[in-house]
Each structure stands twice: as structure tokens, then as C-alpha cells.
Amino acid sequence: MSDHPSDLRTPLGRVRFLGSARMGTTDAWVVHLTSVALVPLTVGFVWLVLDLLRKDYNGVRAELGRPVPAILLLAFILAGIVHMELGARSIIVDYIGGQARAWALAANTLFAALLALACVYATLRIAFT
């Protein structure tokens, strides 16, 4: 079986980490789950934006201070950013290899986390101040 008769590693040692970790479907499942959630949320988000177009600064703040628009926006942000982080991850894995892949994956996740925090913070601040 082995190409190297002098190799001291066991057959198990040679194949470990090269196969399935039984987590392969988690990302795909979450992409699908968030995509289903994002269908109604996107419709609601577009509706909200059309409503906000008519308003000035105070009007925008008053609208986003109401529970339903604020919760809709928070749900859209969270589902959307998880969805886009996973989508970008599959793009990175498809096109980038080697050391650069790890950096790109880390940058993607950190960017998405920062973006989510900033959006959620700002939305809550509008809603509660």
C-alpha cells in the first residue's frame, strides 16, 4: 500500500486529516437556511427602504425606532451577513489556494463580523436613543 517502505507512520496516520470531518454539509445547510429566511426579509427590506426614501433625518430615526422595522432590519442584517460570509467563503475556496486562502478566509470572517457588529450597534442605537 505504501510508496515508502521505510515510512514509520501507520496507515491510519497517513490518511488522517485527508478525508471527511463529517461537517461538510453544515455550511451548505446554513446557506440554504439563511437564503430561505432572506426571501421574505429582502421583500420587507425593500419595502422599508422605499418608505424611508420619503423621510428626512428625524423621520428615518422615528421609523427605525419602531419595533417592526427595527426587528426586520436586524433580522435582514444578521441573516444577510451570515449568508454573504458563507458565500464569499465558497468563492475564496474556489479561486484562492495555499497560504493566501487562509488569510482570505480570515479576512472574510473578520470583515463580516465587524460589519455585523457595526450594523447591529447602529440599529440598536437608533432604536433606543
Binding site: L38, V46, N58, I81, C119
Partner: protein, 136 residues
């Protein structure tokens, strides 16, 4: 460790499918690429949503800067592109969920669904912008 076991330099390069260079371009292929491009565009576009929310949470002057940008020609162009990417990706996503459930994969329907994504994305964008200009 996984990295020392895998020895990436010692392995032969994995074979690559010559998918783009040998197949005739079909509408389903084109919409697959467009789905990915619109997704990547939305990734960048969400920065605009973050800017809007941060500006609205700060004060009227900061909000005015955002408001000035989004009402400028460039701002409208970016927002129009974002609207298209959002609707194209939305309809494409619904198409993918239907396909993943095992429906609509037969010859006439899959091409019709791909065309519907393309046409529907532009149609919804134009309708929403029409409504946007009508209500403001």
C-alpha cells in the same frame, strides 16, 4: 498536525475540469456566473447599508453627508446596481432552492427558469425604482 501530513508540495496537482474552455455558453451557465457576481456585488454593497445606519445613528450632519452621496449621480448609480444585484440574486436563489429540491431540472423548464431570473431581476429593479421615484 494536518499540515505536515498533507505535504502539499509533494503531491501532484489535482486535475482541473476544462469547463469554461470547452463548453458552449448556455443560459444556465451564464446565470450561474451572474449569481456569483451579483452575490459578490452585494458583499460590497452592504457597506452602503452600514454607512446609512451609522450615519443615521450619529447626527443630522453625518446623515446629510450620506444623504448627499446617495442622491448624487454616482450614488444613484451604485444604488441602482445594488438593487439589481439584490433582485437578481433573490430570484436566482429561489431558482436554486427549487432545483435543490429536485424540481424544474428538465430541459425546457431549467432554461426558462434561468431566463426568468435574468428578465425578472431587471423587471423588479425597474418597477421598484419607478415606485421609488413615484413616492418620494
Amino acid at each position: 498536525m494536518a499540515s505536515s501530513d498533507a505535504q502539499p508540495g509533494a503531491r501532484r496537482p489535482r486535475p482541473l475540469s476544462p469547463h469554461l474552455s470547452i463548453y458552449r455558453l448556455t443560459i444556465t451557465m451564464a446565470m450561474s456566473i451572474a449569481h456569483r457576481i451579483s452575490g459578490a456585488a452585494l458583499y460590497v454593497g452592504v457597506l452602503m447599508l452600514a454607512w446609512f445606519l451609522i450615519a443615521a445613528s450619529t447626527d443630522a450632519t453625518t446623515f446629510g453627508v450620506f444623504s448627499g452621496f446617495i442622491q448624487s449621480f454616482i450614488g444613484r448609480l451604485v444604488l441602482f446596481g445594488f438593487t439589481w444585484a439584490l433582485f437578481h440574486h433573490l430570484i436566482g436563489g429561489i431558482r436554486h432552492i427549487v432545483w435543490d429540491s429536485g424540481y424544474g431540472l428538465d430541459a425546457p423548464l431549467r432554461d426558462q427558469a434561468a431566463w426568468a431570473t435574468l428578465i425578472g431581476g431587471f423587471t423588479l429593479t425597474i418597477i421598484v425604482w419607478g415606485v421609488g421615484y413615484a413616492v418620494r
